[in-house]
């Protein structure tokens, strides 16, 4: 089956999915997203800019950011929710972009590490604190750590070393820069 099948052809072609129209199959103006589609239209907002995309239903937010939008700051470490390198904010909440379909982002506001700094380019306090505290070695985990830390502070969880370690545990660092990361998060929290 090609990607370009229309809704009508698809409904005709796939017996399995005929029952999945949430509006009558013959309806001319079915509301968007109410009939099962293999290609989906998604409108959302990334780093303050409106985005419209027409993608395969299986496209993850992570793959769309990296492959289609050239926002490669968000990293793909494990692609299964285990490492946190893909952490982004969805409507202000930190989530793993590898565990979200772009189709599930309809109407949502997404912030990636590229959108964390000020529009004039001045660094986010967390970014500055990571530099000040030498909180990275190879840097692969850093974008995820920075986004996660910004959320951790905003949530009010950066109150002590123990609390930071617990609430930053979703971000692994193979270089094991944990003491420096913890120090950076606490320093940024004090300044926030």
């Amino acid at each position: 089956m090609t990607d370009s099948l229309s809704r009508r052809e698809f409904l005709g072609a796939s017996g399995a999915a005929v029952g999945v129209a949430l509006t009558p199959a013959g309806a001319t103006a079915a509301p968007k997203g109410r009939t099962a589609e293999r290609m989906v239209d998604v409108t959302c907002n990334v780093n303050g800019r409106p985005v419209s995309a027409h993608v395969e239903a299986r496209t993850t937010l992570l793959d769309h950011l990296r492959e289609r939008m050239d926002l490669t700051g968000t990293k793909k470490g494990c692609n299964e929710g285990a490492c946190g390198a893909c952490t982004v904010l969805v409507d202000g909440k930190r989530m793993n972009a590898c565990l979200i379909l772009l189709a599930q982002c309809e109407g949502r506001a997404i912030t990636t590490v590229e959108g964390i700094a000020q529009p004039d380019g001045s660094l986010h306090p967390v970014q500055q604190a990571f530099i000040d505290h030498d909180a990275f070695q190879c840097g692969f985990c850093t974008p995820g750590q920075v986004v996660s830390a910004a959320a951790c502070i905003a949530e009010g969880h950066a109150t002590s070393e123990a609390s930071v370690r617990e609430w930053m545990s979703g971000n692994l660092c193979r270089c094991s820069a944990y003491p420096q990361i913890t120090a950076a998060v606490l320093a940024a929290a004090r300044r926030a």
């Binding site: 999915a17 029952g19 949430l22 109410r34 299964e80 793993n96 565990l99 996660s148 979703g170």
Partner: protein, 344 residues
């Protein structure tokens, strides 16, 4: 991941009606997407229930706490009503997964997660037998590496455990799931999951033409294939306190080796009621009913609780590599009961 069709449902009725052959509900997607990557599930159509409004509500009505199936683990774990009346559930939620995953993972999807058995969680095609993945192919864990597997309720066809933390708390609290299929019904969380021994009996009793999956190793719950979880109803008992203890190889962001949920009510230093459920020891949260009965009228002290836990050692059937789990579970249960009673 194979491509699929995607549709989003605004209401439960719509979602249930749309569920045909080859369809699956998706809530947060934190389990389902990983299944699809490995070939554990290959749905042709995903029905997104994540946008159903009003189904993540957490509220108290009378003497029940009601938690919508779309509430995320962080929402449940940090909610003042849950913290006050179901501490054990709040703690179980906050000890699950990572902060990022908990912002996405729903309580509805959580109880339907599948085992962490490493033979099961591998990419298709599997080079070994796994009856859950491929009925009739055997169970590689039965005589293989089984240090993380079941010590209770298992059968030769599968020795997997259920990994959910919140499910253990829900079973301990005598919660019920409000589910909707062709009709609405309440499903007690102590009966929601089934052990492999129970699955065998269900498989035999069901015969053909039922809604059950094809094979006994694939039967994990009593939720029918076409049923949607709407909410959990948790009875509130004033004066009862609860605690959750999770034992794991690292202190955070790790599944349990074993876990224990407990509630305790005291009167003048004596236990008037205690409930205990163990996690990661079977394919279901394991209520220690004999221990619970034996604790009534006892003092909240180590010796008394340990004595009441002896039946666990009689019932447990450890595999070749997991005898340690029995003692670990007993210790966890002891500490959870003490913590629930306010002794640490």
């Amino acid at each position: 991941m194979q491509n699929f069709s995607y549709v989003s449902a605004a209401r439960p009725e719509e979602a249930v009606k749309a569920l045909g052959r080859g369809c699956a509900f998706i809530a947060g997607g934190t389990e389902l997407l990983n299944w699809m990557r490995l070939g554990i599930a290959t749905p042709d159509t995903l029905i997104d229930i994540g946008g159903m409004e009003g189904h993540s509500r957490i509220e108290r009505t009378g003497d029940h706490l009601i938690i919508g199936a779309l509430a995320t683990l962080n929402e449940v774990g940090e909610h003042p009503l849950v913290r006050a009346h179901a501490t054990v559930l709040a703690d179980a939620c906050l000890k699950a997964a990572s902060p990022q995953i908990r912002n996405r993972a729903t309580l509805g999807g959580n109880v339907l997660q599948k085992t962490r058995c490493a033979y099961f969680r591998s990419e298709t095609p599997l080079p070994w037998g796994c009856n859950k993945r491929s009925p009739g192919s055997g169970c590689a864990a039965r005589d293989g590496l089984n240090e993380l597997h079941a010590v209770l309720g298992w059968a030769d066809h599968c020795v997997a455990t259920h990994p959910s933390d919140p499910a253990v708390a829900l079973a301990c609290l005598d919660a019920s799931a409000e589910v909707m299929g062709k009709r609405r019904r309440m499903l007690p969380m102590t009966d929601f999951h089934v052990s492999q021994v129970e699955a065998q009996a269900m498989f035999k009793a069901a015969g053909t033409g039922s809604l059950l999956p094809a094979h006994e190793a694939q039967i994990e719950t009593r939720l029918a294939r076409d049923e949607l979880i709407l909410a959990y109803h948790i009875p509130i008992h004033d004066g009862e306190r609860s605690a959750y203890l999770k034992v794991r190889e690292r202190e955070s962001y790790e599944y349990a080796l074993v876990s224990a949920a407990a509630t305790v009510a005291l009167d003048g230093g004596l236990i008037t009621r205690a409930r205990i459920a163990l996690g990661s020891v079977a394919q279901k949260p394991w209520r220690l009913v004999e221990t619970e009965a034996a604790l009534i009228g006892r003092r909240l002290v180590r010796e008394e609780i340990s004595a009441a836990l002896r039946t666990l050692f009689e019932q447990a059937r450890p595999l070749a590599h997991n005898e340690y789990k029995v003692q670990l579970a007993a210790n966890a249960a002891l500490r959870a009961v003490l913590a629930a009673g306010g002794v640490s």
